[in-house]
Amino acid sequence: GGKSDKPLMGVVTPAADHGFTAESIRHGEAQVKKLAAEHGFDYRYMTADESGEQSNAVETILGMKPAVIVLWPVTGDELRSAAQSVTDAGVPLIIYDRFIEGFTPTAEISGDNVAIGEGAGRYFNNYFSAELARGRVNYLEFKGDSSTVPMERTNGFLSTASKNFNMVQSFVTNWSQQTSMEQMENYLNTKSVAEIESIQAIFTHDDEIVFGIVEALKNYHGPAKINIKLINGVSAGEGFMALFENSGLTGVDFMTYTFSPSMVRDAIDLGYKAMQGETLQKSYKIPTEMIDKTNYKQYMQSELYKVRYSL
Amino acid sequence: MILEMKNISKSFGPVKALKNVSFDVQAGEIHGLLGENGAGKTTLMNVLAGTFPQDSGDIVIDGTVIHGMTPHKSNEMKIRFIHQELSLCNDLRVYQNMFLGEEFASAGFVQKKNEMDRAQEVLDYMNTGIDAGALVGDLETAQKQLVEIARALLFKSEIIIMDEPTTALNTREIENLFVIMRQLKNEGVSFIYISHKMPEVFEICDKYTVLRDGTFIQSGNISDIDEHQATELLIGKTFVAANLKDGQPSPVGSDVLLKVDRLTGNSFTDVSFAVRKGEIVVITGLQGSGTDELATALFGASPIKNGTISTRQGPLAMKNIRHVMKSGIAMVPRNRKERGILPDLTISQNNSMAYFVAKHRNLFISKKTERERFARNREKMDIKAGSEYDPITSLSGGNQQKVILGKWLELGADVYIMDNPTQGIDVGSKYAIYKLINEMAAQGKAVIVFSTEFPEIYQLADRCLVMYKGQINTVLERQDLSEVKIMEYSTGTGREAQ
């Protein structure tokens, strides 16, 4: 096809490497497609799993003279140079989910990862108030990976959680359910009964990680009594709702924060607004909500949940 | 089986390797296929065995035309092909190689014991002393060649093609082979025998066919011609062979260029000898006598447990091969395919490699110099090649060997170790190469030749060391050389008695 005269929106996101990114891509594409059809503009949607490649995609789209670019960086700072090329070219730039320190795009929009961590810390304090009063509470940490988002969640957690929480061991799961499952299985099969029984909570960065841990706990046939009382996730997806219904484990509570893949739609909407020449705020935070056994049924009736599973 | 090949043509790109060649073999005959290097012998046999298809012409077996020959099909038709270049799987055992493609199997399961027994039976029948369970990669070159031959004898065949089967073999092993060939011939098996060793051809063959430059020249009974006539037929001009050493003043000087003192390796012990300026020393022995490893050890390519090798500058540190080369020693290795050629590289690159390693000083390679370097060797040894930028694998076996020789001649070393240097080289060129080696000696170089071929030994040797079980059994001076003596000493005469 030749060149069209329609304005162009470029969207660049991470590639699908785990559930959250994959579902987000689907929402992002659906939204941009819908808006493009409704309002008669053209769009390019590109995913890449690494910053160099994302920079390439940004530059390629920039070469097509877009009216706006919506960028979800793999990691914020690494895209600074590419982002600067966009603003240097006078193209409005919406940045989603990550920040580029010291760089001001047209608008930023993100879920609030620090808030999620802080909220989890408070929830943990509350949940274990009795135990904390008595002494230390041991927990295991299962990280997503070593990028900024999980770091923000952990740092948020540490900033609010009681100093009596004692992290016994930390794992890097690369967001993989299978990895977290194997790590938990190994832990359960190699640690002493006393060690295993001392663990009361598990702090994680994602629902999928929780699924693996739950499977591992179900597979455990050893002599230790499992004293884990609370496991948290982030995302609040369908699978986690099923855990509230019936996790197959007794005496374990779950908690998660909404962090919907459909949030990327908001970023695309902002992109459209920028295309229309509307002035935007510099920064938008998409509120997140704590979900546990007390409110999950309500949540499943909410608009947020419905949009998430509308595709 | 009666085989006729009619008007076969085959080209490789611009090279016409075969032009309308016709050739036939009757049942129970041993048919010598003669020709210079690059005449098209191997190509003709490759067509027969289905390695690649002919461009035109027919293969007719017992009156029926065979279309679309493949290696598998030719195997099924009881045609066996012993390839000129070793083609064994080094990672497999001897018996597995022998049965490859035609296993004794039921429901896909290999009957290992049956195979081992049968393979061992053939190996023993041939008097090889090879264990059917050994890993082929651990065998010496001569043993590998014997395995290739044994492989052809495993099943009842009707035609056995032997493309230079004896290049690495000793007289005794060749005699063994001939005994077996004669027996099989009496049972109606036919052979196509390709060799550049005229005495062998005249000993074993009934018929001959001569090819020259891809064309058919002549066919007939071997009894109707003699060696000299045959040689002239295949080179297409008159040929005067004389003994190169007779009547020549000996150039042997008194300076010792290479001194080997109580050298011990994995398969040889306490080997001591010295080679003087202008001297050609031949070392010979049966497979298993340690000659294979001695050759590489002299060059720093096999581990030495004990002993020293010295040049005029004193004992060599044997740090690495390059240092040995820089000390003025060159080595033409045996087993061209495995140790000699760099198959993905061009003729020119192969030809220059040794020079690069030991002598090249400039930052860049000059195409012009490399071209001249090859032109020199091509002229010296009459190498049949198209462009020097063709891959070396496009050459016939003998021509590849000449390139390898040329590669080492370019080094201008003081001491030459030549391990089976004329493997696969045709009669005319061999003579030229013997002349070359004698000239090198006359120019003051020291030459050590590892050889098992008596005529070659006789053309070259000032002295001959005969190895037996890893030790020097005897040293024969030129005047004492005879085939019988060499054979006696290499089979242990004078040793077992002690």
Binding site: Q177, N186 | P71, C89, L92
Partner: protein
């Protein structure tokens, strides 16, 4: 005088023979000792079986990879193939309600996936590296497209019986362990006792010689990929049962590297021609033991990779006897 010398020799030869043929056992045992030192409870039955359970899914793929590598080829499409097949397998399971059909589907799909690799390599004359790089990329893309980012989750009614396949035990032995051992034995028999196995090694050792011996090289190569693909199918089935939910984007990620690493650490040469199935088996377990030791020793998570790298090098160095 000769006799002691000879005796000496034969002792030395035997030792050489052992270190040569059983070198993978050597590094395996060293690792095992390290593991036990780090934590004596490593040797508990529950932990030992757990090593097999965790190794099974990748381990079954590694058996297929052994053939591929022994023939001098490579397969990068493992992880994507597993993701594709298990995602589709869950769909088949949910829609038919039959575990048997799901299993048959997985095996059949694996066979087809392998066949496609094989045909492209043999008929297309494209290097296995490129072919499987392309199919790696293609299958991941297909399953992502089909899943549209969402997971493939086993429906609630089928959850318990389907999960029991991977989670269950037979006479106290986990099913996954049995599957893994069975596949190992079958593969070892194929490679050690059949014509086909010999051909695989022959092709890896000297393809031209194999061809000249009348072996249908293309056919054998295709069969190798088909066998490997079928094992990926089995592996996909077991993975689905183990996770009961397959995330298209990440399932099976990195399996090819794990499988190749297991084969290589098990002493199979990457150049083809030689390889021991039992070596691959031990290689899979060694990788598992390394992971377990990292957890037992509470190595800081960011340093896991460094320690893992060092252990791999040391384990392989231990195999390389001095020449």
């Amino acid at each position: 005088m000769n006799v002691p010398f000879l005796k000496n020799r034969s002792v030395k030869d035997t030792w050489h023979n052992i270190t040569d043929n059983y070198s993978h056992w050597l590094s395996f045992i060293i690792l095992l000792i390290v593991a036990v030192i780090v934590n004596p409870s490593f040797l508990s039955w529950s932990n030992l079986t757990n090593q097999f359970v965790q190794g099974a899914v990748v381990g079954i793929c590694a058996m297929g990879m052994s053939l591929v590598i022994s023939a001098g080829m490579i397969d990068l499409s493992v992880g994507s193939s597993v993701a594709l097949i298990s995602g589709l397998g869950v769909t088949v399971l949910n829609s038919t309600g039959s575990i048997l059909l799901c299993l048959l589907f997985c095996l059949g799909a694996g066979l087809i996936v392998g066949f496609i690799n094989g045909i492209l390599v043999t008929k297309g004359r494209i290097a296995p590296f490129i072919v499987t790089l392309a199919t790696m990329s293609a299958w991941r893309s297909v399953i992502n497209q089909l899943g549209q980012g969402g997971p493939f989750t086993v429906s609630r009614e089928l959850y318990a019986p389907f999960r029991a396949i991977a989670a269950g035990r037979f006479l106290g032995i986990p099913h996954l362990m049995l599957f893994f051992i069975a596949v190992t034995i079958i593969t070892a028999v194929i490679m050690g006792k059949t014509k086909f196995g010999t051909y695989v090694y022959a092709i890896g050792s000297n393809q031209q010689a194999a061809r000249l011996s009348g072996i249908g090289v293309d056919r054998v190569k295709t069969l190798i990929f088909v066998y490997a693909g079928t094992l990926y199918g089995l592996s996909a089935f077991l993975l689905a049962s183990r996770l009961t939910s397959i995330q298209a984007a990440s399932a099976g990620n990195g399996y090819e590297m794990d499988a190749i690493a297991a084969v290589a650490i098990g002493g199979t040469s990457m150049d083809g021609g030689k390889g021991k199935i039992i070596g691959t088996f031990l290689g899979v377990l060694m990788l598992r033991i390394i992971s377990t030791v990292l957890i037992m020793a509470n190595v800081p998570p960011f340093l896991n990779g460094l320690v893992q790298g060092i252990i791999i090098i040391v384990a392989v160095l231990a195999q390389n006897r001095k020449k």
